[in-house]
């Protein structure tokens, strides 16, 4: 096994056009490098603005392995701060969400900070007089991340002080987020309830790759989707009886290979991409009364139809989230270690749309992505078997060459057969790019 510590170039060599080395998934030093380079230089999802609607509202989460706080400083100003007291390291907030009032106050020695992180007060401050505290990092208050962007309600952050801009990082891939938000007649989403939190003993990238793995549903999910179809057929309900709601959601997982081939995959630069260019498993959901009318009212009939005809399946935003525009779901794959990932699955309400849409989304979320889900169980089983299987020394490489083309250029947008693994290759191309981002910058400077 190579020594990767402090050597992102060695890590980058683990990516080849048609395969990646297993150390990418099982090596803890690679994980450390990912946190330092890939997660620090990318724009990573933090939360939604509706999770912190009022001044002083905060939400605690992680960017990679870094504990952070999303906090509303002013009505229109959300900050992302590291969740660490600059004095001795105590986490400033420990609950997942709350309201801190006008300032944060560390519970250890009562240093206090404005909600933009600035140092407000230190008790018995004269003890620091003449010691030069103001020249240290500790004297400057709670540290903020490098950059924050609120894009249509979704908060993203870049840990690095300098680097790629939000617009350059996402480019045209923002069309998926736009479509999700446009589906609200008021152009606004609101988080609904708490996210599902599902712990996987596998590498985070396995989950991200699986989002555009269109050759697994009919196999891994035969036990749930196939059985659902069978039970439904056995019921032999008289024509006209409404289908059980479960069928609408679960049965499309059993669609044949051709369905997934035809749905198409699009990739964008920097590791983003989506399945369902032409249609998807979300295409045939029944109409909800009043919704199209509300949409037409806002956008006009033609534009409303264009928004709703877009049925993108899974959009992956590199490095670690997936959204489903048609049902307003976001899944955050938070890497805890090389072999440990927590998946948080959020749903959002389309402000101004009928409640039935939220109900369907909530049903999808619990049926497919809960720790109690009969669909998610089989995905987890596959990832964890792979995490263990990768330790086999006989084969050290993981294959990703389905529909590989010669000299693939990931800096170009591409639309291809829906069973290609190009999006996985695209993710690894971005992974390599951001892994070596700092070393290349350094080289350029030398």
């Amino acid at each position: 096994m190579a020594n990767y510590t402090g050597n992102p170039t060695a890590a980058a060599a683990l990516v080849q056009p048609h395969q990646v080395h297993r150390d990418i998934y099982i090596n803890q030093d690679i994980y450390a490098l990912e946190m330092k380079h890939v997660f620090a230089n990318s724009w990573v999802f933090v939360g939604h603005e509706s999770q912190t609607p009022e001044k002083g509202d905060y939400f605690a989460t992680q960017i990679g392995d870094q504990p952070v706080i999303q906090v509303r400083h002013k009505p229109d100003d959300i900050h992302v701060l590291y969740n660490r007291c600059p004095h001795k390291g105590t986490k400033i907030v420990i609950d997942r969400q709350g309201n801190t009032g006008k300032f944060f106050r560390c519970p250890y020695h009562a240093w206090s900070f404005k909600t933009d992180g600035c140092l407000l007060a230190i008790p018995l401050k004269k003890g620091y007089e003449g010691t030069g505290l103001e020249k240290t990092d500790s004297g400057k208050g709670m540290k903020a991340v490098g950059a924050v962007k609120n894009y249509r309600g979704f908060i993203f952050a870049r840990l690095a002080e300098e680097g790629i801009s939000f617009e350059d990082f996402f480019g045209d891939s923002l069309s998926s987020l736009d479509n999700m938000v446009d589906r609200s007649p008021e152009g606004r989403l609101e988080v609904v309830g708490q996210p599902l939190r599902y712990l996987h003993y596998c590498n985070w990238k396995m989950l991200v790759e699986n989002q555009t793995d269109t050759c697994h549903p009919m196999v891994a999910h035969e036990s749930s989707a196939g059985t659902a179809v069978k039970i439904y057929e056995d019921l032999d309900l008289p024509a006209g009886t409404p289908k059980p709601a479960a069928m609408e959601i679960i049965a499309p997982f059993m669609s044949p290979y051709e369905f997934f081939e035809d749905m198409g995959i699009r990739t964008w630069p920097n590791g983003h991409g989506h399945t369902g260019v032409h249609h998807s498993i979300h295409s045939d959901y029944s109409a909800i009364p009043g919704y199209v009318e509300a949409m037409s009212e806002t956008y006009g009939e033609e534009k409303a139809k264009a928004i709703l005809d877009e049925n993108r399946h899974n959009t992956v935003y590199f490095p670690n989230i997936m959204i489903k525009g048609p049902i307003q779901q976001l899944r955050n794959f938070i890497p805890l270690a090389a072999d440990k990932t927590i998946v948080e699955s959020y749903i959002y309400r389309l402000v101004g749309a009928p409640d039935e849409l939220t109900a369907r989304t909530a049903m999808y979320n619990r049926m497919i992505n809960a720790p109690t889900s009969i669909v998610g169980h089989d995905d987890l089983e596959m990832y964890e078997r792979a995490q263990e299987g990768l330790h086999v020394n006989g084969i050290e490489w993981v294959n990703i060459q389905r529909l590989l083309e010669e000299n693939e250029d990931f800096s170009e947008e591409a639309v291809l057969n829906g069973t290609t693994e190009r999006q996985m290759r695209n993710q690894f191309d971005a992974w390599r790019k951001f892994m070596t981002y700092d070393s290349e910058k350094q080289e350029a400077a030398e």
Binding site: G226, T227, I231, P244, T372, I374, D378
Partner: protein, 157 residues
């Protein structure tokens, strides 16, 4: 026919035993056709429909869940999980004619391969007497740490 408090309590014990012994067809037969099995995601959650839950399943879904457990290609059930309930004597909270409500504290253990997890939970049963038999109208299971990150919960508490 009237039902005594002891009969209600015995019903709850019997149900737990059916689940532990995997007697699912018997268990499904306890349910009234409109029943829902609800396991909230949020502490003291009040809305099962417009908000995510861990489970909110009608008989079609419960049936599917049970059928799937025995499927030839149910990979996450090879080998199968096992479960074990230890229940406290149920509280009988309501007895109104043919309708009853019980509340039961339980420790639920589920195991597969080398992993075992323990959940502390409270089950609320809405029961009805129909044609001389007690049936489950609805069941709500609140997990004490419902907001924690879980591994698979594959069987039914």
């Amino acid at each position: 026919m009237s039902i005594s408090k002891d009969q209600l309590i015995d019903f709850i014990y019997d149900e737990a035993r059916m689940l532990d012994e995997g007697r699912y067809s018997e268990w499904l037969a306890l349910w009234l056709p409109d029943g829902h099995y609800w396991m909230p995601l949020d502490y003291k959650q009040s809305d099962p429909i417009n908000q995510t839950s861990l489970l909110y399943e009608d008989l079609f879904m419960l049936n599917l869940r049970v059928e799937r457990l025995n499927g030839a290609r149910t990979f996450s059930q090879k080998p199968k999980s096992r479960c074990h309930h230890v229940i406290q004597r149920p509280f009988v909270d309501e007895m109104n004619g043919d309708s009853f409500v019980t509340n039961t504290a339980m420790h639920y253990v589920e195991t597969r391969l080398d992993e075992q997890q323990l959940l502390a939970l409270t089950a609320r049963h809405d029961l009805k007497l129909v044609e001389g038999k007690l049936r489950i109208a609805n069941k709500r299971v609140d997990i004490l740490n419902c907001d924690a990150a879980f591994r698979n919960i594959q069987l039914l508490p």
